[in-house]
């Protein structure tokens, strides 16, 4: 381990494009940081359908979710949100994997997967509901097949595994996909989830976004070897992918989903990426990380490299970039409007949905509180007390 706590090979990863499926230490990369598309003997087939328009759509997705992220950060700075967890830098990992999913797959994520939620069709205002403090969650999981964001680190990996066990019982070919960060891999839940997933050969994909920082703790504090190397110890095949390469993320996720659908059991994906912003808007990364590191990773920006590739293919004309910008602006405006027009919850909502059936303790407390509130409405406007 180096002095700053990071392992040398965690930060960069060694690129091994080649004819065979890479092992756990190699980094799958189809588009390099300079926007150059490299052929790959194993993964090219998995993205053979991704033609010019499809590449443009992936680019549009990434621009839009970056814009959503920037708008939400601005809303937080303007006092409209209590907090926001930015995904800046992780657009390729989330869009590449998110666009690989089928509608009947089910996602169990952490709280930073707003781009995955966008892919699932979550209503824009619903992304903000929690952070504005208007609800404990933003959406009905069953309308988009994505659980609401999990705050307890790693807990959702068990939910995904259990859901996948349910898929097995149903004889369906859907897949449960769980997202978590490098920090979560230290949690017992994540390790126990891998034990159960392997034991039952559950159709679950573990998608770890190694963004290098668990708040202020570097990934080297969590892992002395590449994180992807752990899964084979549980009997789970794993792959390490360049998380800033949207095409590679799409390819490895498609492969993992296909394996799960065909009875091949779980797969662990480590997407090596970087959180370019703070952990949340309450955080100050300048206190714990080197500015040079940020600069290095900015040079591997997932949007810039795809833009370069599109440009080299003659697909980045002004009409197209203008339309993408217009789309992003429209989404941002809709997001802002959805935030500002969000209805305030009613006082009695605090008691709703604690139980699905009546509960005498809570009914009594609600009754008392409602009578208390009513007493203000009935009190004389002046002269009392």
């Amino acid at each position: 381990m180096t002095q700053d706590g990071s392992s040398p090979d965690q930060a960069s990863g060694t690129v091994h494009p080649g004819p065979s499926r890479p092992g756990a230490d190699e980094l799958v990369q189809l588009v390099d940081p300079h926007g150059v598309r490299h052929p790959h003997g194993h993964y090219d087939d998995l993205v053979a359908d991704v033609d010019g328009p499809a590449l443009r759509k992936l680019y549009e997705d990434m621009v839009v979710v970056r814009r959503i992220d920037a708008e939400a950060t601005a809303l937080q700075r303007q006092g409209e949100l209590a907090l926001w967890p930015p995904l800046l830098g992780q657009e390729a990992a989330q869009i590449g994997s998110g666009r690989a999913l089928r509608a009947d797959d089910f996602v169990f994520s952490s709280y930073r997967e707003n781009a995955v939620a966008y892919c699932r069709g979550v209503d824009l205002a619903d992304l903000l509901r929690v952070w504005r403090g208007n609800a404990s969650s933003g959406w009905d999981p069953y309308t988009v097949n994505m659980a609401t964001p999990q705050v307890i680190i790693g807990a959702q990996t068990l939910h995904a595994t259990g859901y996948a066990m349910g898929i097995l019982n149903d004889g369906a070919d859907a897949v449960a996909v769980t997202y978590f960060g490098d920090g979560a891999t230290s949690q017992g839940d994540v390790n126990e989830a891998m034990v159960f997933a392997a034991s039952y050969q559950a159709p679950v994909v573990f998608f770890c976004q190694n963004n290098h920082w668990a708040i202020s703790e570097p990934v080297g504090l969590q892992a002395h070897v590449p994180i992807a190397r752990r899964a084979p110890g549980f009997g789970i095949p794993s792959v390490r992918v360049d998380g800033n390469d949207v095409l590679a993320c799409l390819a490895v996720t498609r492969e993992a989903l296909a394996r799960a659908r065909s009875g091949g059991g779980p797969t662990f994906i480590e997407a090596v990426t970087y959180r370019m912003g703070p952990h949340t808007t309450a955080d100050d990364p300048t206190r714990y990380r080197d500015a040079n590191e940020l600069e290095d990773w900015a040079a591997r920006d997932p949007l810039a490299r795809l833009a370069t590739l599109l440009d080299s293919l003659g697909l980045l004309d002004a009409d197209y970039t203008d339309s993408v910008k217009a789309k992003a602006d429209a989404v941002a405006a809709e997001l802002r409007e959805g935030c500002l027009s969000m209805p305030e919850p009613a006082p009695s909502d605090v008691f709703r949905h604690v139980y699905s059936e009546p509960n005498s303790w809570l009914d009594r407390q609600q009754d008392h509180y409602e009578r208390y509130l009513t007493s203000f409405a009935q009190a004389p406007q002046e002269g009392s007390r």
């Binding site: 807990a155 939910h159 595994t161 259990g162 019982n169 126990e192 159960f196 949905h353 005498s360 303790w361």
Partner: protein, 344 residues
């Protein structure tokens, strides 16, 4: 009607629930071929298959967390925690996930989990095998907590717990597993309220509230007290969250005296909640402050000392004497000691 042990009654209830609803799945360590360390699930894997009765790896958080996922998928999992003291690794999943998902999702996601917990002492086990952790869970909103004390309730209430759309912790007093009783297997679980307390014996002088393992002891205390001319009304709470305070309140309004007894430690325990709530509700009817007869605030002791820790017939009667203002173990100790007085 048939006669069966308490443990067998739970087995019969599980079997009926699985017969009636294919979404009911059992999960836990050793619950398949072995039938559980207490044999509560005996024969169920053989009859329903390994996909309905899942032998799991040894990992309580994972059992609970995957049960959450299976419930997400529309199943009704029944999780067995092998021993009370093993529930703590699953604590986070229970209190942060199982209990809160319905609230968190504005009612969109239901968590109809039943968590079976063999609990309480009196069987001479080593540490972690005889604990009473119920108060941790009664303190957590979103959970229902019940405890059964006889074969009929065991049979009925396991089915009620499984049918309930809210998560239910089902505490089984393990020292009563082999006690026999009558069970009406034709009874409809929907015909009774899972949250209702049961008046075990009627009385007019003292209300004695308990649940689970101490119900038979409390009933014995009522019989013994009647020899002294004291009439005790014993109430088996059955539901610990929510508690059927209406039944307890009606009894205390009649008797004017309340004793609560449980094996769990005293501080912050259910006895404190019951004493406080009943005092709030019927202070003017009380002839004496409520009294608690409980386990001590200690880690569960090694087996040769456990019967000092567990409330027994005599300690309960001593509590009864206190609310009756009869000579008791604390008589004459009410005034500050000389030493305490000097310190002031």
């Amino acid at each position: 009607m048939s006669t069966m042990t308490f443990g067998r009654a739970i087995n019969a209830g599980l079997r009926r629930a699985m017969d009636e609803d294919p979404r009911v799945v059992l999960m836990g360590e050793d619950i398949g071929k072995l039938g559980g360390v207490f044999r509560i699930t005996d024969g169920l894997q053989k009859d329903f298959g390994a996909h309905r009765v899942l032998d799991t790896p040894l990992a309580e958080a994972a059992i609970m967390g995957t049960a959450v996922g299976i419930a997400y998928r529309g199943y009704r999992p029944v999780v067995e925690i092998q021993f009370d003291g093993f529930i703590y690794p699953a604590f986070d999943q229970i209190v942060c996930q199982v209990a809160k998902l319905h609230y968190r999702t504005q009612g969109a996601v239901r968590m109809p989990l039943t968590i079976r917990v063999p609990f309480g002492g009196g069987i001479g086990s080593p540490e972690h095998h005889s604990e009473s952790p119920e108060a941790y869970f009664t303190h957590t909103s979103g959970l229902r907590v019940i405890s059964v004390s006889n074969p009929q309730d065991a049979y009925t209430m396991i089915q009620q717990a499984i049918r309930c759309d809210d998560p239910v912790l089902y505490f089984e007093p393990k020292r009563r597993y082999h006690v026999k009783g009558e069970v009406d297997e034709a009874s409809d679980p929907a015909s009774s309220d899972m949250g209702a307390a049961r008046v075990v014996t009627e009385g007019t002088d003292v209300t004695l509230v308990t649940y689970g393992p101490l119900v038979p002891t409390a009933r014995d205390a009522a019989i013994a007290a009647s020899d002294d001319g004291i009439s005790i009304e014993v109430i088996d709470l059955r539901s610990l969250a929510p508690i059927d305070f209406a039944t307890v309140e009606a009894s205390v309004r009649k008797t004017g005296r309340l004793v609560v007894t449980h094996e769990a430690a005293q501080s912050g325990g259910l006895g404190a909640e019951i004493a406080a709530s009943i005092t709030e509700r019927c202070f003017d009817h009380l002839e004496h402050a409520p009294v608690r007869v409980t386990g001590f605030d200690i880690p569960y002791p090694y087996s040769k000392l456990e019967f000092h820790h567990l409330p027994d017939l005599d300690r309960i009667l001593d509590g009864v004497d206190r609310v009756m203002r009869r000579p008791n173990s604390l008589s004459g100790l009410d005034a500050p000691s000389t030493t305490e007085g000097a310190a002031q």
